[in-house]
Assembly symmetry: C2
Homo-oligomer: 358 residues x 2
């Protein structure tokens, strides 16, 4: 049923190899031959069989992007950006949702589907430094985020501490003294929560404000619902605040909802800033100030690094850690619409190779 190279060759009166040459753009072909083959291809409606090509070339042209869930706007936008970047390079992306569960995240690294693609861009949320062994894999891998520093792979991260500090200082610069933080993970040493909380404390310190545990709102999952719940709880507990730094935009938008429900004016009584600068932030009421962590640059860089690894033949390049530039985007929720402040810029650093690619 399916028409093969063999059929085309027969039709065009050439050998199968010549058809292959035409299909793959091999330059040294007589124009007349090429035309004949192309005509045969059109007439027969021939299509390359990807499975056969993949088997032969040991490459699939696919890469995997593993994220917690697409319903979270940050990851949806990240996926969009990754797909676009890969597309521009002629590659196709397969998305894997982990639900941030240990089991699924482990599966991503070693499961059945691992072998469908040539490489992996992985944003882990459940696995941490204790699982670093799992990341010693024999395929091209780029890790997003900062949960597993030290893994033998390229990393693309965010300027978390510096950006969170800048966000906190932004609130302090408005004269706010009781700055709450929402989304903290108590006792956690790594990951975005820990780093952003660290930045928050650094910001308080630099602004000469005391750190008050009462101002720290825990929220395991960074969803809108948890943001709303955490905010509500703090308000119900009578914690006095005049500003909130939410560790991501979903939390912030949830918190905004809770503030509204408590008839608290934003930014009049409480200033609010989030983190991620998702598209929603621009259109909430009031528009949400946020930290733009350089999402597009993250996606672009991750794809670039991964494709480099996939293309690398033999020479084990040193692992790299790339930190995109981030900036504070001031909008109505902190009363400074249009204000954009650059955070200390990111950069690239080389990490010694402690492992080679198989």
């Amino acid at each position: 049923m399916a028409v093969t190279m063999h059929d085309v060759a027969q039709r065009a009166g050439v050998s199968i190899k010549t058809v292959s040459n035409v299909v793959n753009g091999y330059p040294y072909i007589r124009a007349a031959t090429k035309e004949r083959v192309e005509a045969a291809i059109d007439e027969l409606g021939y299509r390359v069989n990807m499975s056969a090509r993949n088997l032969r070339t040991r490459r699939t042209g696919l890469i995997t992007l593993a994220v917690p869930e697409l319903s979270l706007p940050y990851f949806a936008e990240l996926a969009d950006a990754v797909i676009s970047a890969a597309d521009a390079a002629g590659w196709t992306v397969l998305i894997e949702q982990t639900s941030a569960s240990r089991e699924r995240e482990t599966e991503v690294l070693s499961g059945r589907r691992r072998h469908l693609t040539d490489g992996l861009i992985f944003s882990p949320l459940a696995l941490g430094p204790d699982d670093i062994g799992l990341f010693s894999v024999d395929f091209p891998l780029v890790i997003l985020g900062e949960r597993v520093f030290g893994a033998p792979a390229d990393h693309v991260t965010m300027n978390n501490v510096a950006a969170a500090k800048a966000a906190t200082l932004h609130l302090a610069s408005l004269g706010r003294r009781r700055i709450a933080v929402i989304g903290a993970h108590e006792g956690e040493q790594v990951g975005s929560a820990a780093l952003r909380t660290e930045g928050y404390r650094a910001g308080l310190a630099e602004a000469g404000l005391p750190f008050d545990p009462e101002l720290v709102g825990e929220a395991g999952l960074w969803h809108r619902s948890t943001g709303a719940e955490t905010m509500s709880r703090m308000l119900d507990d009578g914690v006095e605040i005049d500003a909130v730094f939410a560790l991501n935009d979903a939390l912030a938008l949830g918190a905004l909802h809770a503030l509204h429900a408590h008839r608290i004016d934003v930014p009049g009584q409480v200033a609010l800033i989030g983190f991620d600068d998702v598209d929603d932030a621009k259109y909430s009421v009031p528009a949400l100030s946020s930290v733009d962590p350089g999402r597009d640059q993250i996606a672009h860089t991750a794809v670039e690094l991964l494709l480099e690894r996939i293309g690398a033949s033999g020479d084990p390049a040193p692992f790299r850690r790339v930190v995109p530039d981030s900036r504070i985007v001031g909008r109505e929720s902190t009363g400074e619409p249009g204000d954009v402040v650059d955070v200390q810029p990111g950069g690239t650093e080389q990490v010694a190779v402690d492992m080679t690619w198989a």
Copy 2:
């Protein structure tokens, strides 16, 4: 380098066929043999080579989901649901972003990537009834939406007219008389915009309200930004309104932003309802009333139909059109939080086969 079935067979002292049997769960294998093979697999770290299997079985285990863009929350949530449904059935999803451009949508149906997967779930936004010929394809296809009725494929759609009518009546039942609609596509005969606008007019008629062209706000793209712009334009033009039906939630959230900017109270002065019931709707300020079109059911049904087609051997089943149940979810923006109204239920209908699968 890569360990193959052959290696495993040698190691276990059996034939390659036996290894294959074990890997594929063939039941009639002596327990001892099976154990020996499994031990060999573990020791050697053997993994099935998907490319080889795909070539042999003429199947990839992948399906494509083609949507405009993942940045749009509705499609992100749809993708989430489709991936989950496919996953539960052991299938993997590859997402294709079309940017709603004719070129990319055409490519999805016939381009290079078409042959990477076993079937396609396609939500077209640029192609319409005139392009119906493009949909006569020789691979399993499920079409989402109502732009190309009549195409020889299974359809999963929404109860657009009935749901839009119900949304309009919901606003009318609050005593609103000047109900604007946002997101209309002038002159368009098919697609969500046309159908929902038709439902809007039907709702007005049933409520005994006149149709006023001034109340119709055009918006080609259904983004937040266009919703905000359209709403602003209407308000600046001095159009008198006391309610707004936005044809999707992105438009509604944008409109909400514009209303707020114009210091118009929602729902006090203007009641607002959207369409899609995306997750954001629950957490906007005020929370947005919306039409839940049965997104999960759509995703689940689409996957189910597609896998049926893929699995179908020979017998060309009639094409089906499935319409999930939809309902109105009342929240603060129409002043009736918690109110849920069922819209006339959907259903399944069989369509004559005017084409067989190749």
